[in-house]
């Protein structure tokens, strides 16, 4: 019974709901801002409506494209449900709806995959299950649920775990020779930003790139533990703000910095959050919840363990593939690899008839610039594109027997090199988790 008791007293013990309430509000508002920003940037049209063709994720080829109004409706509902999360209004429905819509939209086109979109999906998934709406919420105000000032510790720990994991694995991902020993890709990116205020002139020096690379690695590896330590937390949080603002100024990284700056507030103590809430006019008096405990629930424990296993295993699945993952990109996604590779490709596709006569493809006829950029370095996209081309030309009445491509890729400043076997019929390949033999090995050449 020792373990059961330990779990009861640590994970199922009740702790203050305050950090979770702040998290709910901040996350909901940042999501609302992100959706509005996306909309007003014209990206709904640019990313979902204009393209004739959408790249899918493996296993999610069935996700249908929407009619034009469907995208606007989805984003409108997404904004509404983000607001619902922030206000704690019809919270479970809002959180569920947000998770489904956000993830669904992401699944429509894998071109736009970003680590932080994936993070948003994971966090909103967790929010469905945690009772973040039990205090300072419309649901309580409307009497739909009873006010409760405590939650099982697991609800908060799970989110902390997820955030810590993002940092820690991002740090692990930085332990590679390009990043540490060549200061790549920062050696390329920093000089391009030498008009940065104040410290821009330092960016011309390779030493700066080294300092940033190493600093970034240590930051990512250590920050979860620093944030957990009550003594170092404030220092850590200043580092969080500094680090993320820096990346926001330097790179076209979108909302990620703000998501992390907002989300990591959850590491602060309950007292800290109470102070904020009362400062903002919160009136709830806190009870003594220290003795309360929900009892261990086996299904919950199994589900949580499963979730944690998946979160840890997914990023490391790349180890099952031969060669450099940054080159072949098998096992790349969902691995918290942020800003780690400067990669560019050029793909000349050829549709051949059964007599070997060719049509050279101009990618801009079929893909948007972002789609072309992403396709030119990602093998699974090449298969999908080849199949799309084959179908397109077959529909035009051509005997489209095979689709091949000459692809060249440069990674982190290395000379561009052939990326795939130019004689393979890409249209007849099927995507799977097994290694794609037709990806040529990276030339082990120095940068």
């Amino acid at each position: 019974m020792g373990i059961r008791q330990a779990i009861n007293t640590s994970l199922f013990r009740h702790i203050s709901i305050a950090p979770l309430v702040t998290f709910r509000v901040v996350f909901g508002l940042i999501m609302l801002a992100s959706i509005l920003r996306f909309w007003f940037n014209g990206w709904i049209e640019e990313q979902y409506i204009i393209p004739d063709f959408h790249f899918k994720y493996f296993g999610f080829y069935w996700v249908p494209n929407l009619p034009d109004w469907g995208y606007y409706l989805s984003f409108a509902l997404m904004a509404l449900s983000a607001l619902g999360i922030a206000l704690g209004a019809f919270y479970r429905i809002s959180a569920t709806l947000f998770f489904i819509l956000f993830t669904g939209i992401e699944l429509i086109d894998a071109t736009y995959y970003l680590n932080h979109y994936y993070l948003v999906s994971v966090i909103s998934f967790l929010l469905i299950f945690v009772p973040a709406h039990r205090m300072y919420s419309l649901d309580v105000r409307l009497g739909l649920i009873k006010l409760r000032d405590s939650v099982p510790a697991l609800s908060i720990y799970l989110i902390m775990f997820q955030l810590g994991l993002v940092y820690f694995l991002a740090g692990i991902a930085k332990i590679n020779s390009d990043w540490l020993f060549e200061a790549m890709p920062l050696s390329i990116w920093l000089p391009a930003q030498d008009d940065f205020p104040l410290i821009g002139s330092l960016f011309q020096y390779k030493l700066t790139a080294f300092a940033f690379s190493w600093g970034g690695m240590f930051y990512d590896l250590l920050i979860p533990f620093v944030l957990l330590s009550s003594r170092l937390r404030w220092l850590g949080y200043l580092a969080v703000i500094g680090f993320h603002l820096m990346t926001w100024f330097l790179f076209q990284i979108g909302m990620f910095p703000f998501i992390m700056i907002g989300a990591t507030l959850i590491f602060f103590s309950a007292d800290f959050h109470h102070t904020i809430h009362s400062f903002l006019g919160g009136r709830v008096k806190l009870s003594d919840y220290s003795r309360k405990s929900t009892y261990l629930s086996k299904p919950v424990l199994i589900a949580v363990s499963l979730f944690i296993c998946v979160q840890i295993a997914l990023p490391f699945r790349y180890l099952l593939y031969p060669g450099n993952m940054f080159w072949h990109e098998q096992g790349y996604r969902f691995g918290w690899r942020v800003m780690l590779a400067e990669k560019a490709g050029y793909a000349q596709f050829k549709v051949e008839d059964s007599e070997g006569r060719k049509i050279l493809i101009d990618n801009s006829e079929f893909l948007t610039p972002v789609q072309e950029k992403m396709m030119s370095t990602q093998p699974d996209f090449m298969i999908q594109y080849a199949q799309y081309l084959k179908a397109h030309y077959s529909n035009l009445g051509m005997d489209a027997a095979a689709v091949k491509a000459d692809v060249f890729v440069t990674l982190n400043g290395r000379a561009s090199a052939p990326f795939i076997d130019p004689n393979i019929d890409l249209a007849s390949q099927t995507d799977s988790w097994s290694h794609k033999q037709w990806i040529l090995p990276q030339k082990s050449e120095q940068i």
Binding site: W189, A192, Q204, L207, W214, A344, K358, A415
Partner: protein
């Protein structure tokens, strides 16, 4: 070794590795600056862009003068003079074609001046009716240099050219070219030159970003529209020699060469600093050689292949396609460096969307 010592051991190991592994260059050496992108942009404008526009302007003015002469005394000699100065202007246009940034982009200069293949039936209909708007969408393939090429060269006798309707259509297209060009040049002189140089970042709308994109766009047009399509590479090998640029004057080879040299000139910055110098300053390598040199070598290979063609690209496609295929292969070799290594090493962004680096 105690746990606390591990980070220090790693740091020591790395700096040793960094000092050994870091090629020949000292990690303390600056790259990127003091060579400022702003200076490069300024020099590109002064040494490449403005001189090319000026040359084109004076050639267009010469064409206008010769055309006026022809109208006052329409004879064979003046006809030949108009033809000659037309070719000169068309050749000069080729080196301006890649600068589709700022004013040229606002005026859609490339589309206005050199959209081909020409829609001859639309042109003839326009000429017949005498009422048309050269700016309308349906006339996008019936104007500019290709229209002049048709009117001047469809027939060697000057009879057709001297018809009133033909002269009028010629003149209005010449006016269009001249007007658009003057607008672009005056915008450059009225402040865009400053804006161009001071927009010296590397983001999507930066001058360098725009230039790299347009250089590549123009190069793709060269490779596809001027070579691959007529050669039949997009039509299962069925050649379409009639789709070459300047099919009536049959000067497509000369224009192709001028276009390639124009793009190369933009890359090297003519006599001044260009993208090549900036790449050198960044210490950009292609294997063991400088990336700039690798690109220049491939430009030279393309140039050699074009020069080796006989004077008519059209007849080469018909009679000696393997020589044109060899050219296409060289163009393909060059485009790989221009579209992967170059933008990657420059750190320029090609899209506005959020990006977390893969």
């Amino acid at each position: 070794m105690s746990i606390k010592a591990i980070p220090f051991a790693i740091i020591a190991a790395v700096f040793m590795q960094a000092s050994i592994g870091c090629k020949d260059n000292n990690p303390g050496e600056p790259v990127g600056s003091p060579f400022a992108r702003e200076d490069m942009l300024k020099e590109m404008a002064e040494n490449v862009i403005m001189p090319s526009y000026s040359k084109l302007l004076s050639d267009v003015q010469q064409l206008e003068a010769d055309f006026e002469m022809f109208k006052s005394s329409p004879n064979q000699q003046e006809f030949i003079a108009v033809r000659t100065s037309f070719i000169a202007a068309y050749v000069s246009w080729q080196s301006c074609s890649p600068f589709e940034v700022g004013p040229a982009a606002e005026e859609s200069l490339r589309l206005m001046l050199n959209t081909f293949p020409l829609d001859t039936s639309q042109l003839k209909a326009n000429m017949e009716s005498g009422s048309y708007d050269l700016f309308s969408a349906q006339n996008s393939d019936a104007k500019g240099f290709p229209a002049l090429d048709f009117l001047l060269f469809r027939n060697d006798s000057l009879e057709q050219f001297t018809q009133e309707k033909a002269l009028l259509y010629f003149e209005q297209n010449l006016d269009l070219i001249s007007e658009k060009l003057n607008t672009v040049i005056s915008k450059w002189n009225d402040g865009y030159d400053q804006e161009f140089a001071s927009n010296s970042g590397t983001s999507v709308g930066s001058s360098l970003g725009l230039m790299v994109n347009e250089l590549n766009f123009d190069f793709e047009l060269l490779k596809n529209a001027k070579v691959a399509i007529p050669l039949g590479l997009k039509t299962l090998g069925v050649a379409q020699p009639e789709l070459v640029e300047a099919v009536y004057s049959d000067k497509s080879k000369e224009l192709l060469l001028a276009n390639l040299i124009g793009i190369k000139n933009l890359f090297i910055g003519a006599e001044g600093q260009g993208i090549d110098d900036y790449l050198d300053n960044l210490d950009a390598k292609y294997g063991n050689e400088n990336l700039s040199q690798a690109i220049i070598n491939r430009f030279d290979n393309c140039e050699t292949k074009i020069s080796a063609l006989n004077s008519s690209l059209k007849s080469e496609i018909e009679n000696n396609p393997s020589a044109v295929e060899a050219l296409h292969t060289e163009l393909q070799n060059l485009v790989v460096l221009l579209k992967t290594d170059m933008p990657s090493q420059l750190g320029v962004q090609i899209t506005y969307q959020d990006n977390d680096g893969d």
